[in-house]
């Protein structure tokens, strides 16, 4: 029950959304998401979206990890 997975918002109906994760559709409460939009990626946890996932920060983390580990090998 405690796992949270990245899911994409497919449609929005009031305070709930259909989200897609791993090829399955789930109903998710979006009351805790500021300005949810179709296409946004959210973390799905026990039937609720608990945060939007930041694409900018996701790419930045990967870039930093790459950089840090390339530098370390020189």
């Amino acid at each position: 029950m405690c796992l949270s997975i990245p899911a994409r918002i497919v449609s929005i109906d009031g305070s709930t959304a259909q989200v897609s994760a791993g090829g399955s559709l789930f109903r998710a409460g979006i009351q805790m998401i500021d300005d949810p939009r179709v296409g946004d990626y959210v973390l799905l946890h026990a039937g609720f979206a608990i945060q939007k996932i930041s694409e900018k920060d996701a790419l930045e983390t990967i870039r930093l990890i790459r950089e840090m580990n390339e530098l370390g090998e020189e």
């Binding site: 405690c2 949270s4 789930f26 109903r27 026990a46 608990i50 694409e55 920060d57 990967i62 580990n69």
Partner: protein, 361 residues
């Protein structure tokens, strides 16, 4: 899959593992306090990618595992009352109480239904206005806001037959309890999704007051290895601090909408943890404004304290004192098919993860 596959890049994982190998200078022991991390660490075989002098131990991070025997007894008592439907996350079904568990009473006719979320439980209440629907509220800061939203919707929709028995808990007091008891670790792999809600502030006291390294991280193999590298570097530099590897999901201030509903519906209370006993102000109880949805009202106040199976060492495992393989019951008597203790029941429990992924190595 987006936000998953890039964090499973084999080449990059290999590089970070080699960086860790080059960075180690001594023995290190780190504790993860999230059941999701426990499961991911075992599932991805993270220990097999680390040098032998880095040990990872599991802490009290699996919400169903730390749920006390007494709480299970209370839910079972609710289920045996007239016109009650129990709506629960599936993980709780086989958690042991002093007597029968939820699965056993369901097999004898009690109306116990598995739900995916609190909102599903509320739907069942709305569809069954003559029944009292009880939802056991378990989980940490990650799960409790969902329960809070559900209670607000129940109150607004006048679902007076919807009740929550709250065993929701918060993380910082149990981490403080571990540190006050002198746990011998060098740092924490901090729970990424608790931090998604709380932000950094929940963990800042740990490096500041207890001088332990802390990294908030995600749940993919690259997240976990990078966090371990950051922890090793913190220990080596003798400058413990709180760092975040999981910026794609954790803002410094957390999720303000979730924190708002949490404090609107719940207030802190003392709570019982399996393995720890009562920890002051470590639980969440419904505020007076929402007390008509508190399932505690359905039960008599002086409920007897639950009794644990004396042979099970779940408590020591949750406190990081023992590993599953040190339990005499592990894999002989206690298995996922026939669990004795809570840590073997939940998919995020240390014993369950050990059994599934490391027993036959």
């Amino acid at each position: 899959m987006k936000y998953i596959s890039e964090y499973r890049d084999k080449k990059l994982i290999d590089r970070v593992a080699r960086q860790i190998e080059m960075a180690v200078e001594r023995d290190y022991k780190f504790m993860e306090v999230c059941g999701g991390h426990t499961a991911a660490i075992r599932r991805f075989g993270i220990p097999s990618l680390l040098p032998a002098n880095i040990k990872l131990i599991s802490g009290p991070g699996c919400p169903v595992c730390v749920t006390s025997t007494g709480f299970v007894d209370r839910i079972v008592a609710c289920a045996q009352m007239d016109d009650v439907i129990i709506t629960t996350f599936g993980d709780l079904m086989r958690i042991p109480g002093s007597g029968p568990n939820l699965e056993e009473i369901k097999s004898k006719g009690a109306d116990v239904r598995i739900v995916f979320s609190g909102l599903d439980a509320l739907d069942i209440a709305l569809q069954n206005p003559r029944k009292r629907v009880v939802f056991p509220g378990i989980g940490f800061e990650t799960t409790a806001p969902g329960t809070a939203v559900t209670i607000i919707e129940a109150a607004a929709g006048e679902a007076g037959n919807f009740f929550v028995l709250s065993a929701h808990k918060v993380m910082p007091p149990v981490m403080r309890a571990l540190l006050e008891n002198g746990i011998r670790i060098d740092g924490f792999i901090c729970p990424g999704h608790v931090a998604t809600i709380t932000g950094y502030s929940a963990f800042e006291f740990i490096p500041y007051k207890y001088n332990k390294a802390c990294v908030i991280t995600g749940f993919e193999p690259l997240d976990l290895l990078q966090a371990i590298l950051m922890l090793v570097n913190q220990v080596n530099s003798k400058r413990p601090s709180l760092e975040t590897e999981y910026k794609r999901a954790v803002l410094p201030e957390g999720n303000s909408l979730a924190l708002e509903v949490l404090s609107k519906v719940f207030e802190p209370c003392d709570a019982e943890w399996r393995g720890f006993g009562i920890i002051p102000l470590s639980g969440l109880t419904l505020r007076r404004e929402y007390e008509k949805h508190d399932a505690g009202r359905l039960l008599k106040a002086d409920f007897p304290r639950g009794k644990d199976n004396p042979a099970c060492i779940c408590g020591d495992i949750l406190r990081g004192l023992k590993t599953p393989s040190e339990c005499p019951l592990f894999s002989e008597v206690c298995t996922p098919a026939n669990p004795v203790g809570a840590c073997m029941v939940s998919a995020e429990g240390a014993c369950n993860s050990f059994y599934k992924y490391t027993l036959y190595e």
